[in-house]
């Protein structure tokens, strides 16, 4: 981690070292195994799966299961494939992540740099939302969404996820900004910048690492959420996770395992993508606030 690296590891012999690497390799393979099974079976014809070994490589390669999962498979009653639900998920996730991250940043900014009487209480209450189990709020939330006329709609789901994510994003940004020198804010005040101008010009430009943490966290959680999606979404707003469930659990016809595997990988791809693109900032950002805070 540090610039001055010193090799303080215990010196081991060649044999021990080989052994250690072998064990590590074994673990790595073990963890990769499920993904391997999914990948391999998603490019096989169904007959090969039902008739033979799940671990074997395909004898005939086919991308038909992927095509089917994406656009023609039976989801519930409609043969639409996962595509419309994938789009539903995107339309839900992007605003939910953006709004909760921006609001979390604003909360963190206010809670550290514009402190007021009782601010620690407010922060403590917001933290509570990190510990509330999803199931508890289902019925009150359904009632609220109904009253607001947002039941069964994408905006409704966005609202639910923003409310649920706010506790986490506020926590991240508050801790990050706590280590940010207050003198900078004071200097900007004297320079004539107002509340939003200081936020926009001084705080946000240095918030990169923590914004990445917040985005990854929110994106994975919201994308992978099933309960809220199943409870509050309808035909036009159900997210990918619910559709995947409907695909796998459809009770008519034969179970198309290859299509199911392809669908599951499709559902996991966006989070994988976000991790690969932004993952290296993730640990850095998580560390940044905690070291000095």
């Amino acid at each position: 981690m540090s610039a001055v690296t010193q090799d303080t590891a215990v010196r081991t012999g060649r044999v021990t070292r080989t052994f250690i690497y072998l064990v590590l390799l074994l673990f790595a393979l073990f963890y990769l195994l499920p993904f391997f099974v999914m990948l391999v079976n998603s490019v096989k014809p169904l007959a090969e799966i039902t008739g033979g070994n799940m671990m074997a490589l395909p004898r005939t390669w086919t991308f038909e299961p992927w095509h089917s999962a994406w656009s023609t498979a039976q989801i519930g009653v409609e043969p639409t494939g996962l595509k419309p639900y994938f789009i539903n998920s995107i339309i839900m996730v992007v605003p939910a992540v953006a709004i909760s991250t921006v609001l979390g940043a604003l909360n963190g900014y206010v809670l550290t740099k514009w402190r007021f009487r009782g601010d620690t209480w407010v922060f403590g209450l917001m933290l509570f939302s990190c510990f509330i189990p999803f199931q508890i709020v289902l019925i009150p939330m359904a009632r609220m969404l109904g009253l607001m006329g947002l039941a069964g709609s994408t905006p409704g789901l966005v609202l639910v996820h923003v409310v649920y994510g706010l506790g986490f994003t506020t926590l991240y940004f508050r801790n990050y900004y706590a280590a940010f020198p207050t003198e900078l804010v004071r200097a900007a005040m004297i320079d004539g910048a107002g509340f939003f101008r200081i936020f926009w010009r001084i705080m946000l430009p240095v918030s990169g690492p923590i914004a990445v943490v917040s985005v990854i966290w929110q994106f994975t959680n919201i994308w992978n959420d099933f309960l809220f999606g199943a409870s509050f979404g309808d035909q036009d707003s159900q997210p990918m996770t619910v559709a995947l469930n409907n695909l796998v659990n459809s009770s008519t016809g034969v179970k198309e395992y290859n299509v199911h595997f392809a669908g599951a990988i499709l559902a996991a791809l966006p989070t994988l993508f976000v991790y690969i693109v932004a993952g290296r900032y993730f640990v850095r950002g998580l560390m940044a606030g905690s070291v000095k805070g």
Partner: protein, 370 residues
Amino acid sequence: MGFLDISHVTKSYGNVQVLHEVDIAVQEGEFLVLVGPSGCGKSTLLNMIAGLEAISSGDISIKGRVINGVHPSKRNIAMVFQSYALYPNMTVGQNMTFGLEMHGTPKPERDRALAEVAKLLQIDHLLDRKPGQLSGGQRQRVAMGRALVRNPDVFLFDEPLSNLDAKLRVDMRTEIKKLHQKLKTTIVYVTHDQIEAMTLSTRIAVMNKGYVQQLGTPKEIYDTPANLFVATFMGSPAMNILPAKVVMQDGAPHAEIADADGARRLLRFSQANLAGWAGRDILLGIRPEAITDPEGADRKSANIQPFGNRVTVTEPAGSDTYVTMSLSGRDVIARMRADAAVVPGQVFDFAVNMEKAVAFDPATELRIPA
């Protein structure tokens, strides 16, 4: 009525009063230093002038306009912070013109002001760098530059040199003084370093426990400290304070003290009105440089008195030699020329400049005025 008027200003947090009735009138072009130990209220006072902290009671006005409750950016002040507070995401140039930009100054005018100040501070070649790429001294200059660009009525400095190493601090001190002499700006400067206070200021306010102990020119503060706190806080090494008794001899007041061997000794005061204290105890204050070897004594002084005493320790510091001896049971430090032949354990003939001696009332700790 001053340029910057601080009148009857107090500050309380709940029931705790941290500043008591501060009254300072700063004239235009003056360099006022607020000096005192940690927690004396000097930074609080500065923040109140800046508008970063509310004033509990009293008024602060600049150019006759009361600025209580006016937003910091509308007071026409600029502040240099201890940590410099440079915006890390902006270049030096953007840092310096941010204030002008916020006040809606058009770009050509901003660039002109920037070029002017950058040239003055010799930082023209740094304008495109980020603060992270600058050395401590350069950051310091940029922080001052950011204040100068705004051309404010009053400059506020909050311990600007305390993050620099010793050598750079001395250089920057001279730099600030030069700048002030050239620009004749009004400056309020907070420090806990009494040498900074002495060297930079045109006037000093020595503060302690929320009270201004004394307000005066460096010379007044140094030569005629108002009380024991000011006397011992200002000056390094600190003023020697020793218990003494005023006795009359040949019609003149003398300080009766005990030397290192316990013998009773007399030093004649220059301050005649101390006759009124005859027979009473006082605290005698003598600065280290007022006790020298006879050759090093101040030739202009009318009251140099020889004083033989046994030496405890000598500390050669290169430019001077500090000699410790015992007087009235206290350790007393004398500041000698570097080549004074002083030997520890032996009796040396000192010369005490009693013209510079001051006397304090032990009960009130106030100086007994001449």
